[in-house]
Structures are given as structure tokens and as C-alpha cells.
């Protein structure tokens, strides 16, 4: 590969690569605002100007392609003085909003101002005033004064969503962002501009003014909204999720996530309908009981029944580990063949950017983990039919509101001898259940999901439950968690009594006299690898931050 020299170090580059790209590959960040790796080059912020030997003028690193033998200085006096000067220009008109700006703490302008400017301004004239609260669409708010005209948002709408709602209008320092006449900035991915906006000019209307960035912890995990499995970060303060943001994974979601996933998948974690503790029906009332009592009770109820009268419905939102335990319990402890899950596919709801028609995050992994009827067993439709006909007398259902499917189903469920619901939320099915086990949501547990591509990715706990083990479960901590303040989420926060599905099935199994020796979700995964080829030799470290494409046999792929 050809090489050029950057600040005295030789760097390899692929022909056609720009200086900024090649530098980034070796971990050198040439300061920039307008350049973004997945957008076209705009070259207007002028912060990435570098000195190139034998070139008469400074050149922008974002649009200058590297060439063999080129000698680039990104730290020379000339470069630094230009960079500082451009920073000074940017700050001349930038409002002093930091104390009330959502972006503070993750603001490129703030960061660079600390690193690359003088700390005082030579210019003290009145700043230019512009509109400060312009809703561009249902989700995004624009502050004209904070905008540094980098055009990232415009390029995002032009190039990524191809919806083109945004444009600059006016000239000079009157330049500002608007939507085209009659248009709203209302597309399925609009909120991504709040992530790529280098300053606080575009904010998430759902999150505005909710928290300071440094008060939250960020946990890398996966979106639960569909089979894409976008990589995200879950932002928590005081044990409450306040926002989700996408995290880069070029094999899955690039830098993006959809607005649905961002806004609609975390609030239920804190809904009033969450089930807190184990309940059993006594004289028509749900009575809180201990876990052990509920396990023992479930075991004795189920033991009375013929194994062909018992069915288990799993959830494609559960993790592979959850479903492996579920299938193992059903097939080897209950010895029932009737195991399946219910897919949630909404035809026509997908697009060619990210959103998938399959709304479950782990249908693929659920099947791989062994959730399917054993030979001669009933599949999902037959199980539900059996419930209606009365041939199925006991049902264990995980996170699936079967009663909401139809009045007929609801009546049939009410007539079951035993209905055990494992559920995150109260719903019409849990209302009919003899025993309700509270399950942890995706935000409260470790585990893996397999997306539609067959890529296994880790979910991680961001919110703590009563039983979560901080160390064992590796919960991310914010600065304040570590040093302790009144916002310490381990102190005053609400913690629910709920467990991951795999643990609930391990508990049931023990009550049947079959103790399972797993302490963590990872133990389950490692064990799965011994019996299921797709998971062979996997552990959490191997899956890592970016996930691993499973090697699937031709049969599975079909």
C-alpha cells in the first residue's frame, strides 16, 4: 500500500482515500465539524485545514486525497494558528447556552474550544440573534443561534433518508436551516440528525432538558424494536432510561437507528404496568408470594397433568439464553413436545434502510435456541387451537398477550387448568394467570439476540433490578455512580423484583428436582455451544462490542 507522512509518522492509505479518512484508520482524529464518514464531503467548516508540503495554501484534510510521499502537518504552527482562528470565528456568534444546552458534555464545539482555542475572545460585539425554538418536525427542535452551518443535517436528509426536507436559506451570517415550504422534517429516521449535529442546534424533543449528559451512564446494547438489531446506547440516570442513541456498527446499522426504535422501545421499561414481584391467584385475587413458593406451586400443579396436555409459548423478544432454557425445560423436564413462539411480522412495514418487517429482535435466535415443536408436537397454531378446544390444559406463556388476540381466546385461556404467565407487564393474559412470574426487560439483563442477518449481538443491563448483581452483571456506571451523589441510581432508585426468563426457567426446573448449574447468562450461552452448532465456542468476549456473524449450516439458512 502507498504511504504518506502525517506529523512525522508514515501512514498507509488506499488510493482515493482522503487524508482525514486515512488518519482516522490509524486512530488520529484531525479536528472537524462538517465531515462525517458516511456523508458526502462538504468542506465548509474549515477546521480540518492542514499544511501540506509543496502546496501553496493550507488544504482541507476532508477533501484532499492522500498521495504517495505527501507530507502533511496537522500540528504545525501554521495549521494550529488557522485552526484556532477558525474556532474563534465559530465562537464569535455562538450563544453562551452551554449551561442550558442538552449537547453540553458531548458537544464537539465545546470539546474543540477547550482543546483548540485561546479561552478568551478578542471580539465582544453583540452576537447575531436568530430563532431559538423552531420545531422542524414532530421529533426535532432547531436552535438557529447554535447552528454552525455544517450542513450535516441537510446531507443526512439528502443522502441517507433521501427525503430532502432540509435546506439552508439566506446568505452570509443570516444563513439558517429550514424545511422546504409545506414540508415537515418528519421521516422515520429524523432523530439521527440530533446525534450528528456537532452542536446543540438540533435536539430531541422527547429528551430536551431532561438530563445533563454527565449525569447519565451509557450502556451499549441492542434495540428491541425489530429484527435489524441496531446497536444502541441506553442512557440512564437514577435507574431510569432517559434516551436511546445509536452506536456505530457498519455491519448492522452504520451510525443510525429509526425514530420508532429510539422513542417507543424504552418507556415501557418504566411503565406503571410493570410486574413487581411474583403473584398467585387466590380466590380471584393476585396475591404476592415468594419466588420459591411460586416455583413449588407451579411444579405441583404441572406434575398432575399429562405431558401432552401441557404447552409452552416462548417469546421472540427473549434472549437466546432465555429460550434455550425454556426449550430445555419444556422438552426435558416437562417432556412436552408442544413448544413454539409467535412471530410478529408486519408486512409492508419494512424499508431498505434499517426497519424490518419482523418486529421481534430475536426470532432467528429463538429458533436456533431450540424453540420449535418436537417431532409430533403441536406448532403455534395447533397449540392455540388446542387451548380453544380444551385438549391443552396447561400453558406457560412468555411475554405474549394471547388474551388480547380475540375474545374467544380470552375465554379459552380462562378455562385452562393451569396458566402460568412469565411477563414484564400486566396485561389481559396475566389477569387470567394462576401464577405470574415477573420477567426482566431487555434493559435489565445480559444475553444475546440474533438479528435477521444471523449476527449474534449482546444485550446488556442498563437498569438494575432487585436481584441484578452489579459486578456479576457488569452494569455500566456513570461518573456519579462511581463517586456517589444523591442521584446515585443504586441508592434512591426504584428497583423492580423481576428476573431474566432463563433464571425463571432454571428456578422452575429446580422445583422439579432438576437443578441447573448456571450462574450467569454467559454460562448458558457457553453450554448452548456444546449442543447447538450455531453457537459453538462462543462466549461474551468473542461476541464483543460488534457482534459475530454466526456460521450457519445450509439447512438452517433455508
Amino acid at each position: 500500500m502507498p504511504k504518506f507522512t502525517l506529523d512525522g509518522n508514515e501512514i498507509e492509505f488506499k488510493p482515493g482515500e482522503t487524508i482525514i479518512e486515512a488518519a482516522k484508520k490509524v486512530g488520529v482524529d484531525i479536528p472537524h465539524f462538517c465531515w462525517h464518514p458516511s456523508l458526502s464531503v462538504s468542506g465548509n467548516c474549515r477546521v480540518c485545514l492542514v499544511e501540506i508540503e509543496k502546496m501553496p495554501k493550507l488544504a482541507i484534510a476532508c477533501s484532499t486525497t492522500a498521495s504517495e510521499g505527501m507530507v502533511v502537518h496537522s500540528q504545525s504552527e501554521k495549521t494550529l494558528s488557522a485552526r484556532n482562528a477558525v474556532m474563534e470565528f465559530l465562537l464569535i456568534n455562538h450563544p453562551l447556552d452551554c449551561p442550558i444546552c442538552d449537547e453540553a458534555g458531548e458537544c464537539k464545539l465545546q470539546d474543540y474550544a477547550y482543546q483548540h482555542s485561546k479561552g478568551e475572545s478578542r471580539f465582544t460585539e453583540e452576537k447575531v440573534h436568530k430563532d431559538k425554538r423552531v420545531p422542524l418536525g414532530p421529533n426535532v427542535m432547531f436552535d438557529g443561534e447554535r447552528c454552525i452551518s455544517c450542513s450535516r443535517c441537510i446531507r443526512f436528509a439528502d443522502e441517507i433518508t433521501k427525503t430532502g426536507e432540509l435546506t439552508f436559506v439566506q446568505r452570509g451570517d443570516r444563513v439558517t436551516i429550514v424545511t422546504f415550504p409545506g414540508k415537515e422534517f418528519d421521516n422515520a429516521y429524523s432523530l439521527n440528525v440530533t446525534d450528528i449535529c456537532p452542536v446543540g442546534a438540533l435536539t430531541n424533543r422527547d429528551f430536551r432538558f431532561k438530563a445533563r449528559v454527565w449525569d447519565m451512564s451509557a450502556t451499549k446494547t441492542i434495540c428491541s424494536g425489530c429484527a435489524r438489531g441496531c446497536n444502541i446506547e441506553v442512557w440512564v440516570r437514577n435507574n431510569e432510561i432517559l434516551r436511546l442513541t445509536p452506536s456505530q456498527n457498519d455491519a448492522v446499522n452504520s451510525f443510525w437507528m429509526c425514530d420508532y426504535g429510539r422513542l417507543e422501545t424504552f418507556k415501557q421499561v418504566h411503565s406503571n404496568e410493570r410486574i413487581n414481584g411474583v403473584y398467585m391467584k387466590r380466590e380471584g385475587q393476585d396475591v404476592k408470594v415468594s419466588w420459591d413458593e411460586a416455583y413449588a406451586n407451579a411444579a405441583s400443579e404441572l406434575k398432575h397433568l399429562n405431558k401432552d396436555q401441557i404447552a409452552v409459548i416462548a417469546s421472540a423478544s427473549s434472549t437466546c439464553e432465555d429460550n434455550f432454557m425454556l426449550a430445555k425445560f419444556a422438552k426435558s423436564v416437562l417432556s412436552t413436545k408442544h413448544v413454539d413462539y409467535i412471530p410478529h411480522v408486519v408486512p409492508g412495514s419494512g424499508d431498505d434502510l434499517l426497519i424490518r418487517e419482523d418486529k421481534s429482535p430475536n426470532a432467528f435466535g429463538t429458533e436456533l435456541a431450540g424453540v420449535h415443536p418436537a417431532a409430533g408436537g403441536l406448532n403455534r397454531d395447533a397449540i392455540l387451537d388446542g387451548v380453544k378446544k380444551g385438549t391443552i390444559k396447561a400453558l406457560i406463556v412468555v411475554d405474549e398477550d394471547l388474551a388480547a388476540m380475540s375474545p374467544e381466546m380470552e375465554t379459552a385461556l380462562a378455562k385452562l387448568d393451569v396458566l402460568i404467565a412469565v411477563s414484564t407487564h400486566h396485561n389481559r393474559t396475566t389477569a387470567l394467570a394462576n401464577i405470574i412470574f415477573p420477567s426482566a426487560t431487555y434493559a435489565e439483563k445480559n444475553g444475546t439476540w440474533v438479528n435477521f442477518q444471523g449476527r449474534i449481538q449482546r444485550i446488556r443491563p442498563a437498569v438494575t433490578t432487585l436481584e441484578a448483581d452489579r459486578t456479576l452483571d457488569n452494569l455500566a456506571q456513570s461518573r456519579l455512580d462511581k463517586f456517589g451523589t444523591e442521584y446515585d441510581r443504586w441508592g434512591r432508585s426504584v428497583k423492580l423484583d423481576a428476573r431474566p426468563v432463563w433464571k425463571i426457567f432454571a428456578g422452575l426446573s429446580t422445583a422439579f428436582g432438576n437443578k441447573m448449574k448456571y450462574t450467569t447468562a454467559e454460562d448458558v450461552l457457553i453450554d448452548m455451544g456444546k449442543s447447538i452448532d450455531a453457537f459453538k465456542k462462543l462466549d461474551y468476549e468473542k461476541i464483543g462490542e460488534q457482534g459475530v456473524q454466526l456460521e450457519l449450516s445450509a439447512k438452517v439458512k433455508a
Binding site: 468542506g43 474549515r46 477558525v86 460585539e125 447575531v128 452551518s149 452570509g172 451570517d173 444563513v175
Partner: protein, 393 residues
């Protein structure tokens, strides 16, 4: 009008109905020969940047593409420049002839005249000329078609890449260079963008031959060019003058006896004070890449009744208004310079503050994206340093 300076009449003179006949004689020549003549002549662009015309055509000719374009830049937006409208009005055949030559050399089949919106009064005349031009081309079996594209009304749209953006229906904002229009121009295809006068000059070079052309002017600035003379002068107008004369000679001819400064090259050019008239030669300054050479040909004379502060403020008003606002230094710098000199004048800032502003304008020169922001410092520093007292009191 009597002119004591060496009189030239290359661009506008001896215009006749024979222009196209001469063109076809040239078109029968080999492209390489035409290119050689142009390069030999040392002709440089008359639109502002002073890029060697022969080299520009050569680069476009070497670019490989089925589609190429020739664009005549008739946006003429530089304050104090009004020669392109005269050329289009008086010798339109020569402009089209220049375009046809460029088309022949580069292999383009399509051309556009990007006409300043305010010049709509020229449209009818040009359309008629185009009809005749196309008819004659057709009868000679030459595939070249020229259309008029009405300019988009902003000064910045005269900058060649902003011009291309606006032609593509986009916001008129300069692009990054490289790539240059010669390889990536209109619709991403190789394109020659030339000033109206450059095209005529190219045609005239081929007509009189590079040797004759080079007899005019001086080393590095060959030929003659049209100057738009305005301001405090008894004879405003356009004049075809040889390069190489000194500003003193120029002021002798055109001044009103009380000239204190000449703005050479319009708002984006330099202001030369009386004491430097003798040492200033009119011509291109420097190398190939200077983006801020005041070659548009505007000459504004100011006598002692003029306030240089007002003149500078006027220019800065213009730049603050016309900066496309795309890049940081120019978007904010233009406004800042304007606010700055106002504050000094009002006494809100110390005179010392002018030095800060000078540094700021220097930064704009180094860091701005296009010629507009890069050349604000020309007038700013030449006026502020030569007329500091007028800025303060």
C-alpha cells in the same frame, strides 16, 4: 474619444459579418495547433482568477467523457465591472466563435451562456444571434449547441463552481476544488468555464496569431484587456488597454486631477493610494493559482472628496450581504470586519482594534473556501493600512 495611451482595439474593433467565416477557417485547423497557439500566446482568464486559458482547455480536452460543456460566464457581478455586457452587446459573434473554438478543442457539443439576471435586455438580441449561429453551424455540419441560462441573482453565482451548482438547480454555493470543473464540472462532466472576454480574446489570439498578441502587454501579462473605468473621472467607460502600463500613466489619462486612490479589480481587488501610483503596474501578479488576482478589469478612481471609510464600509456591506454563508471564516468574518470598523469609527473600540481586524482578514484569506472570502482581505487591508486615519477619525 482621444486616448493618449497606447491605443488598442482588439476585442471590440473591426467587427464585421465575416466573423463566422473566419471562425470556420480556424475550425478547419487541427485542435492541437489551436491549443499550441493559445498556450504560446500566454492568454490568461479575464474573469478574475487569471488561469491560463490554453491550459484550461487542454485539461478539459484530456478529460475522458462522452459529455463535455463549454460555459460562458456572463454573470458579471464584480462591483465596478461592466465590460462583459458591452462585449455581448457589441461583438456577440466573437463570443460564440470563442465558444465554438473551445468546443472544437475539448470535444464539447453543448454550451451555455450564464447570463447575469439583470442583463435580460440582452436576451432577445442574443437569441437571434444564436439562431443564426446554429444555422451556420448546421450547414457546416458542426454539432455544437448553445443555450442561454439566466443567472440566479447572487454575486457568488459568478464563481465558477457556485455557477455550476446553480445551473444544476442547487443552492449557489462554491464546491471544493479539486476536483476542478475541467474534470468534474456541469453535471459532473468535464467543463470549461470562461469569462466572456476570455472567449473573445481566445478567438482573437487565433485570428492574429500568438506572436502578434504577445507584442501587446508585458511578460506574464500578454495582450490587452478591457477596463471598466468609473468613479471620479471625466470619462467613465470601457477601454481596451495594453497590460503593463503604470497606474500613474493610467491616472494621468483618466483622473480628474485630484485622484487619491484607485481601486483595481473591484471590491475584491486592491486599493492603491496616490503614493504608490508610480510603482504599480497593471497586470497579473504571480503564479497560476492566485484566486484573488484583480483581473476583472474594474478601475474605480476616488478623489479627495471621498471618505475611504465609507468606501470600505460599502464593500464590506456588499461582502457581508453576498457571502454565501457556507464556510465559517467568510460567513462570520465579513460581518465581523464590518462591525469592527464601525465600532472603531464610533470610538467604541480603540484604534488598536484595527490590527486585530487585519489579522482576522488575513485568516479569512488563508482559511476561506472560495475566492470571495479569500479576497476580502485585499480591499480591507489595502484600505485600512493606507488610510488608517480615515478609519479612526
Amino acid at each position: 474619444m482621444k486616448l493618449s495611451l497606447k491605443k488598442v482595439d482588439l476585442i471590440l474593433g473591426s467587427y464585421s459579418n465575416e466573423e463566422y467565416k473566419i471562425l470556420f477557417e480556424m475550425l478547419s485547423r487541427n485542435s492541437d495547433e489551436i491549443l499550441k497557439d493559445l498556450i504560446e500566446s500566454g492568454l490568461k482568464g479575464r474573469g478574475g482568477a487569471g488561469f491560463p486559458t490554453g491550459l484550461k482547455w487542454k485539461l478539459c480536452a484530456e478529460a475522458v467523457s462522452d459529455d463535455k460543456y463549454i460555459i460562458c460566464n456572463a454573470d458579471e457581478g464584480e462591483p465596478g465591472t461592466f465590460k462583459d455586457r458591452e462585449i455581448l452587446d457589441r461583438v456577440p459573434k466573437r463570443v460564440l466563435a470563442g465558444m465554438a473554438l473551445a468546443a472544437k478543442v475539448t470535444g464539447a457539443a453543448k454550451g451555455y451562456i450564464y447570463l447575469r439576471a439583470e442583463y435580460s435586455f440582452l436576451v432577445n438580441k442574443l437569441q437571434k444571434e444564436l439562431e443564426e449561429f446554429h444555422k451556420i453551424l448546421k450547414s457546416n455540419n458542426i454539432k455544437f449547441n448553445v443555450e442561454i441560462f439566466m443567472g440566479c441573482g447572487a454575486y457568488i453565482c459568478g464563481e465558477e463552481t457556485a455557477l455550476l451548482q446553480s445551473m444544476e438547480g442547487k443552492r449557489g454555493e462554491p464546491r471544493n476544488k479539486p476536483p476542478f470543473p475541467t474534470t468534474t464540472g456541469y453535471l459532473g462532466k468535464p467543463t470549461v468555464v470562461n469569462n466572456v472576454e476570455t472567449l473573445v480574446s481566445a478567438f482573437m489570439v487565433c485570428r492574429i496569431g500568438p506572436e502578434e498578441f504577445k507584442k501587446l502587454g508585458i511578460q506574464g501579462s500578454s495582450g490587452s484587456k478591457l477596463f471598466s473605468v468609473s468613479g471620479d473621472t471625466p470619462k467613465p467607460g470601457i477601454y481596451d488597454l495594453e497590460f503593463g502600463l503604470s497606474l500613474a500613466e493610467f491616472v494621468d489619462e483618466f483622473g480628474d486631477g485630484d485622484t487619491k486612490a484607485v481601486q483595481v479589480g473591484g471590491a475584491s481587488g486592491f486599493c492603491v493610494p496616490r503614493k504608490k501610483f508610480n510603482e504599480t503596474t497593471i497586470g497579473y501578479r504571480g503564479g497560476l493559482t492566485g484566486d484573488s488576482l484583480p483581473t476583472g478589469g474594474s478601475m474605480m478612481l476616488f478623489n479627495s472628496s471621498r471618505s475611504m471609510y465609507n468606501i470600505l464600509r460599502n464593500y464590506l456591506d456588499f461582502f457581508a450581504e453576498e457571502s454565501c454563508g457556507q464556510c465559517t471564516p467568510c460567513r462570520i468574518g465579513c460581518q465581523q470586519l464590518k462591525n469592527g470598523i464601525e465600532a472603531v469609527k464610533k470610538g467604541e473600540k480603540d484604534p488598536e482594534y484595527l490590527n486585530q481586524l487585519l489579522k482576522l482578514s488575513d485568516t479569512m484569506k488563508i482559511t476561506s473556501k472560495c475566492g470571495l472570502g479569500q479576497s476580502v482581505a485585499n480591499s480591507f487591508s489595502s484600505i485600512v493600512t493606507n488610510f488608517t486615519e480615515e478609519m479612526i477619525y
